[in-house]
Symmetry: C2
Subunit: 110 residues, 2 copies
């Protein structure tokens, strides 16, 4: 694992939570999320996403229901009100971080 890969991994923490909370305003299942994000140029490992979905559900930020009527059983996740609150907080943090980076970039002018 080189430094940049590792750095990207670290940068993805938190970010991915925000992405999922934004995306799941419409109910979707895990495998679908992976492919939708892939289309947007964002590769997310299944083994990263599935645990994340479960963690967010445990926290009450997502709700889930199994749909067995379709060809393959699918677990649909959707954001809850609590999840929207969390999303708001994450967005605030993200905006604040953006401002910090902008300020520093101007000072460094790199």
């Amino acid at each position: 694992m080189n430094e940049v890969d590792n750095a990207e991994k670290e940068m993805n923490r938190g970010f991915l939570q925000l992405v999922v909370l934004l995306l799941l305003e419409k109910a979707m299942y895990g495998y679908m999320i992976v492919r939708v994000l892939e289309e947007q140029g964002l590769t997310v490992d299944e083994n990263t996403l599935y645990p994340l979905l479960r963690r967010l559900e445990e926290k009450g930020a997502l709700s889930s229901r199994w749909d067995a009527t379709e060809a393959k059983a699918r677990k649909y996740y959707e954001v809850t009100d609590q999840g929207r609150v969390l999303r708001g907080s994450l967005l605030e943090i993200w905006v604040k971080q953006g401002k910090t980076i902008q300020t520093l970039r101007q000072e460094v002018r790199s």
Copy 2:
């Protein structure tokens, strides 16, 4: 530890590396960095920053030198060329993430 605090912690991963790499275009020592960032409204725990500085130095992204001439011995860190490369990569990732969030926000209109 509530969810938002924890989320902020996760959001800080990677972000803080980028901040340090931007800031250390000018040589600074740890305690000074903490206070400079504090002034900018960014509270960074000493116990987070010091290990981070050491890790970045191990990676070759920072160089350090002790200055014993001042009242208190201070360890000055400065970004290296390798660190600038890493910084460039982190900035790219950050910009890409920003675009993703923007796109998703528009779709969700939240």
